[in-house]
Symmetry: C2
Subunit: 347 residues, 2 copies
Amino acid sequence: MAATLTTLVNHQCRLAVRPVGLPTAANWQFTEEAVAEPTEGGVLIKVLALSLDPAMRGWMNEGKSYIPPVGIGEVMRAGGVGVVIASRNPAFAVGDHVTGGPGVQAYWSVAADQLRRSGLAKIDLRAGTLTQWLNVLGMPGMTGYFGLMDVGQPKPGETVVVSGAAGAVGQTVGQIAKIQGCRVVGIAGGPAKCEWVVKELGFDACIDYKAGPVKEGLRQHCPAGVDVYFDNVGGDILDDVLARINRKARIIICGAISQYNNTTPVQGPKNYLSLLVNRARMEGIVVFDYADRYHVAIAEMAGYLKDGRMKSKEDVVDGGIAAFPGALPMLFSGANFGKLVLKVADA
Amino acid sequence: MAATLTTLVNHQCRLAVRPVGLPTAANWQFTEEAVAEPTEGGVLIKVLALSLDPAMRGWMNEGKSYIPPVGIGEVMRAGGVGVVIASRNPAFAVGDHVTGGPGVQAYWSVAADQLRRSGLAKIDLRAGTLTQWLNVLGMPGMTGYFGLMDVGQPKPGETVVVSGAAGAVGQTVGQIAKIQGCRVVGIAGGPAKCEWVVKELGFDACIDYKAGPVKEGLRQHCPAGVDVYFDNVGGDILDDVLARINRKARIIICGAISQYNNTTPVQGPKNYLSLLVNRARMEGIVVFDYADRYHVAIAEMAGYLKDGRMKSKEDVVDGGIAAFPGALPMLFSGANFGKLVLKVADA
């Protein structure tokens, strides 16, 4: 085994320059490193796939946030799945499939003292495929589940609206809301995504924000107003929904993808006084707060995947670590259809 | 009695033209009417004082809100206190002091079928003076009490910030928060108000927004961040506080006086993504929702007034109904010091 490992080369994508606006190739640098054998208590993982998430854009900025920014010269932070190829830790065996935060690199070495922080955990491929473990069974799924259930608290018969409906978080939110007995209206870009959201995922309707005013779509598809809005996009769409909320509505602020590449200040919701008029609430969610309950949500979602009540769509980009700089901006143009995954290696 | 009544003339201030920006004399028209005797089950009240509130500006606008707008030609809506001068209702006797929504007029006639909607209720001048019944024992006090306690849910030791600190709602909020064992920081305009808020009301500090950047003041006076923000003003100050909130902070949206006379769109809080980063909440309050618990809050506040833990400052403008158009804009320039009250008649 040791002989094999020493011949392996780790390819890494590091943050070179903080972006202004949309990230480009100029923001990244690629490095190569020899792969070292694990030390006592450590684990070495071959990365198979990485999760590409809108939140990554925020991690590239300087300044206080819910986690520290990625440092210049550091391997870009990323969630991912992989397989254990060497282990000096009794909890992990060679061949185990795992999830965690490997970063944008081909091999992930976790030392004993980093285990807790790394989020390294075994995954069961009987519950879901590798890419599903980055989608509904992964961070996006957990974000959608706890954001909707804990912050949104939907009741049967209520109208739930979710933006980024065909994205990773959005597809989870909408399907969970349907299972809760809600009327579910998605907002997505383009007829293909909207059709898929309605026909495949079973949403009651989906508004194509590229086809016309969202305001009109909300009027048409939310005749009883909006009780819960799960916001992944911010900007004008947030204002359009604020204008349609019901009394005691709950707005979950999960993201604001329309604003992440701004070179001007963030666009604040000018209709926020609708919160006052409607005694409504706008509340942020960060998925890490629910880590001690991930297992509960994963078990529930795995059940839905199995019984067919939940579908999980991933858009897998090939090309390994080198393809990362080109794949990430797909999130911001909406070029991905389903949860964006970067395939790093064959299983 | 009947002979007396028929000689009385009711003076009324009606909305003539909806304002663009700050209301001026041109928005109002004055009318005179003979005062009629009450019909069976009705009550006639001589208005003694009216409550002038920032919310009035919103009632002058067309469009959906938490209550319908005042119609063109209608007597301007206003809360007030008065004394019963004629009654054909056994629940009200001549000489009883009452509160309710008389509107901007000298006499208020409440017919039997309007009693419930009118909010007419007897008040006990042993619990507070007439003007205190428009302040801490009235709608502003109820707004501050339920907004802070029910929506803000302050815990001892937390830092509570309130804007419009010397105003009617602000003074209640700050004093109640002090009683709850919080660190309380006010935001007000000018040294006199700030000094009064600290020295008389016992706030821990007060930031003079006219003297320098609120951001600096928050840094200085909220070293442990902000847990609860009671917002009466909106605009830049809301953004400044959003930049200083703690994890799980609660922001109560009570008003946005900085925006009420805008002729451009409302300024949305561009720092609203701080809600996400901090898993914080922004929630609106409308006092009417708590009507069934007013009596509880009034009893509690009356106790604080009696034992000296709470003070109540009103800024009483003389001049009767005719002075209304000139008095209302004082709220928007911050010319009032304490709860703005229009005296209509001697008790």
